[in-house]
């Protein structure tokens, strides 16, 4: 953290580097203290390493039997013990994509509204309400999706869409309410409060001198948002979207209720499907064969690696960007 030096941090860093620094032999207590805290830090690294190792080792059976083909075929048949992850991977990707497509524009709207447009008296309560909603457990969203949203989708929305665009492959199949589209929408609602409250915070951090000078030049509110607030908060906005993406990819309960738990690969948005997380939630305790369990563990490994890679790349990239911009 190079910026520390500008915050008067250099002092302690200097102390740490000195020969009589804490934990370098001056007092036994300090040595123990340093050992314990460093041990806890390293423990976190070991924990994630253990997760990867256990998932890798326990999926050996499935990896040996299906090889890379596991990722490329969509058969999921416990009876013949033939398994492929493609269907679940497609379901995960499709629901996440729908969720982000719906949630990100609305979140930007909410963020802009709360930071710039809403009347003063509304800003704090509405902002707090959004933050609180981010704390509502995902299972509540999933249950609401199953009992309230799915019937409306099946009775009203899906028939309406099919009447107009019935031939289009995305909208084929019987309108039963649950399925990929409904799961994506529930997921969107779940990540919405989270993304919007972060985006609002990011917008609020724009220095008012910058905004006011733009307003002073005659810029409209939208131009200030587009040319000042969004570029200024770009890092935070991308961070918020990435975190939302990470949540959506691995979310179990909001999806499991409404996705329909079907294993065939069907590209219609109305079709039933499965995500990796919903497959695990539904089948893990029922898996009775070694290959079956091993295939489920390999699914978990795929999800783990997916989120791990996406989140690490995003974090490292954000840190680099922060360094370059001197923040």
């Amino acid at each position: 953290m190079p910026q520390d030096e500008h915050n008067g941090r250099a002092g302690v860093e200097g102390v740490n580097a000195a020969p009589s620094a804490p934990g370098v032999g001056r007092s036994a207590g300090d040595a123990i203290f340093r050992f314990l805290t460093t041990g806890a830090g390293v423990g976190l690294l070991l924990l994630i390493a253990a997760m990867a190792a256990v998932l890798w080792q326990q999926s050996a059976l499935s990896r040996a039997k299906f090889g890379w083909g596991f990722l490329a075929h969509a058969v999921w048949n416990p009876v013949t013990e033939n398994f492929g992850a493609l269907g679940a991977m497609y379901g995960t990707a499709a629901t996440t994509a729908i969720a982000l497509l719906v949630a990100v524009p609305i979140s930007l709207g909410i963020g802009l509204f709360l930071a710039e447009l809403a009347p003063q008296w509304l800003r704090v309560p509405a902002g707090t309400a959004i933050e609180l909603l981010a704390a509502v457990p995902s299972i509540v969203y999933g249950m609401w999706g199953l009992f309230v949203l799915a019937p409306i989708m099946g009775d009203v929305v899906q028939p309406w869409i099919q009447e107009r665009f019935g031939d289009f492959f995305l909208f084929s199949g019987p309108p039963i309410g649950i399925g990929i589209l409904s799961a994506g929408l529930v997921l969107a609602l779940m990540i919405l409060p989270f993304i919007s409250s972060v985006i609002r915070d990011v917008f609020l951090m724009t220095p008012s001198a910058l905004k006011e000078s733009a307003y002073g030049m005659g810029a409209t509110t939208w131009e200030v948002a587009r040319d000042i607030m969004i570029p200024y908060g770009r890092k935070g906005i991308i961070g918020a979207i990435t975190l939302g993406l990470g949540r959506a990819l691995g979310e179990t309960m909001a999806v499991t209720f409404v996705i329909g738990n079907a294993h065939e690969l069907n590209f219609s948005l109305f079709a039933l499907g499965n995500s990796i997380a919903s497959t695990l939630a539904n089948e893990f305790t029922e898996a009775d064969g070694d290959v079956y369990l091993s295939a489920l563990i390999e699914l978990g490994l795929v999800l783990f690696l997916m989120t791990f890679v996406i989140l690490s790349v995003a974090q490292i990239w954000l840190r680099r960007m922060g360094k370059r911009e001197g923040r």
Binding site: D30, G41, M51, P137, T221, A277, L311
Partner: protein
């Protein structure tokens, strides 16, 4: 020129309108979810709900007393397991790991683990604890929740310690206090209220978790206060009940959803109010 101004004003009005509509839609949908949960939930909540054990489908007067107690036990155990570990790791990041490569790696892993899929944590604990021991248990469920809390506690501790001015550390060290003593008597005390809020928020988050409990603590229709046995929880019970075909169970599931939502919201609001009170007292 004039045409351009009209266009700019029009675009501005359009975007502002769209942003207002987006905010309205978003807030309305979320309000819809909450009111649905409240209306359907309140009608299911009565004395039996808090005091009785689950009843078989078709029988009336079943309650979720065991699941409520189970959730409390699991959450409390997870907190006890993760908080000391997390605080130590946070101290390492804030005090000894400034600018180091190892600390950067720990920080990255903590951030990634914060967003790690909770169901994968469940699978991991199943493989690491449940299968070797041969049975589902409350310990396994609490361990899964603890893993989810750990990175949050670590990062909150680090961030709050970073806010403590170095002058305070140096003042204590200059008086001859060993580093660990300075930490416990000065730095951690100064960071305490912020850390507590972070911990309380992460507690309320894991209290609503379902996925990591599905194959660790499992579920149980009986009283279970022994952590060596499968342990019921509100969230897993809600899942099973909502997925069942029985009307009474659906109603109980709404009751559970309402109870969880309200508890989490109340907990979140209280910890924020409390933090605000502490801050005001100090300034």
């Amino acid at each position: 020129m004039n045409c351009r101004r009209v266009r700019r004003k029009f675009v501005n009005a359009l975007v502002l309108f769209l942003s207002g509509v987006a905010a309205l839609i978003g807030l309305a949908m979320l309000a819809w979810i909450l009111t649905d949960t409240a209306f359907k939930g309140i009608s299911a909540i009565n004395w039996d709900f808090f005091t009785k054990l689950p009843a078989p489908p078709g029988e009336e007067h079943g309650g979720l007393a065991n699941a409520i107690v189970g959730t409390l036990i699991l959450t409390a155990t997870a907190t006890v397991m993760s908080v000391p570990f997390g605080i130590l790791a946070g101290i390492y990041l804030a005090e000894f790991g400034r600018g180091g490569k190892l600390a950067a790696a720990v920080r990255l892993v903590a951030d990634v683990l914060t967003s790690a899929p909770s169901i994968v944590v469940g699978v991991f604990v199943y493989l690491a604890l449940v299968r070797p021991l041969g049975h589902f248990s409350g310990w396994a469920g609490a361990a899964a929740l603890a893993i989810l809390m750990l990175p949050v506690v670590t990062r909150t501790t680090e961030e709050m310690l970073n806010l403590v001015p170095d002058a305070m550390r140096e003042a204590a060290l200059a008086l001859g206090a060993p580093y660990w003593r300075m930490m416990f008597q000065v730095a951690l005390r100064a960071a305490m209220s912020g850390m507590l809020t972070g911990i309380l928020l992460s507690v309320s988050r894991v209290a609503g978790e379902t996925a990591p409990l599905l194959f660790t603590s499992l579920n149980s229709p009986y009283w279970a206060v022994n952590l060596n046995q499968p342990m019921p929880s509100l969230t897993v019970t809600l899942f099973n009940y909502a997925m069942s075909p029985y009307e009474e169970w659906h109603s109980l599931a709404w009751g559970a959803a309402f109870l969880i939502t309200m508890s989490v919201l109340a907990f979140t609001i209280l910890s924020r109010l409390w933090l605000r009170g502490v801050n005001r007292e100090r300034s």
